[in-house]
Symmetry: C2
Subunit: 153 residues, 2 copies
DNA sequence: ATTCATGCAAACGGTTTGCAAGCTT
DNA sequence: AAGCTTGCAAACCGTTTGCATGAAT
């Protein structure tokens, strides 16, 4: 499997952009936490531990770059923060079938894979003429622990 | 079917809140455009036609109120605006199965109903112990017209 | 040496809030 | 009359941007 860090460096060079320690540090911070859903500020705090001089603006700029290169995914939970995550799968294609479970009690975000929407997509295409190219599913509810907690009360 | 406007007035009184022309005007603006997805600014512009003295802050405050009362739904397309829509169905329950098709070309938002996720919910409950109470599906693609337009090129 | 990237601070823009004046009840 | 609501403007806050300095090629 091709290392994401190497892929990033390669893509940067291809585009005439520079491989800076900040950019690499930010990717590493995300890579250390696969399937976490970090805000820019959180990423900033993580990177600062290793590189205290980094600026928040650099984090924002790098995040944007990583998203354009499809190395990370955006997630908007509607709480005023955009979150970012790095997939832990090789193929980019799979990101298409990667969805979220959001716990209403503890706020944790879990991930699940599923192709079960393909039917639905076909149906929409036929009935409405809408050509689906991507989809996003969020499920709100209670995670295992919080569901148990709630039952006790 | 109970009029949404009456329901709003009733709910306001129940809560010791006041029935003001501004609040009613805002609900009417939304009611005139069922299944549209309006930003606060857009609602503001609509209401201003009838009541030019209304303030944007009032629109924001009323929208918040309407959302808390479950009379309208929020929709976040990730473009920096929160959008609001009023359902055209009677039962609140149905809002649960009401999803969005977002055209990547013209930006229009279509609505579709579907219960096809019930399977998926059950499956998640069993495999992960996550208790789903609500879900949200967004499909990105090309609407009928834009898909046709794209084929021509 | 050239060109891109960084850090800082200021700007941005949608949304929220404090407050005095104005309606609802 | 009492209390909630309004409109205004200022504050908020996550994010973006301009600019001079610094690093990568």
């Amino acid at each position: 499997m091709p290392d994401k860090k190497d892929r990033f460096k390669m893509l940067l060079k291809e585009k005439g952009l520079k491989v800076t320690t900040q950019r690499v540090d930010i990717l590493e911070a995300l890579e250390m936490r696969p399937d976490k859903h970090l805000t820019a500020e959180e990423i900033y705090e993580i990177v600062k531990e290793k590189n205290p001089d980094i600026g928040l603006a650099t984090v924002y700029r790098t995040i944007q770059l990583l998203a354009e290169l499809n190395l990370i995914d955006k997630l908007n939970l509607g709480d005023g923060y955009v979150r970012y995550e790095i997939g832990n799968m090789d193929e980019e294609k799979k990101a298409h079938h990667h969805h979220h479970l959001i716990c209403l009690s503890c706020g944790n975000v879990l991930t699940f894979q599923g192709d079960l929407l393909d039917n639905l997509e076909n149906q929409i295409q036929k009935s409405m003429g809408f050509e689906v190219v991507d989809h996003e599913v969020k499920m709100y509810g209670y995670c295992k622990d919080c569901a148990a907690e709630r039952k006790k009360e």
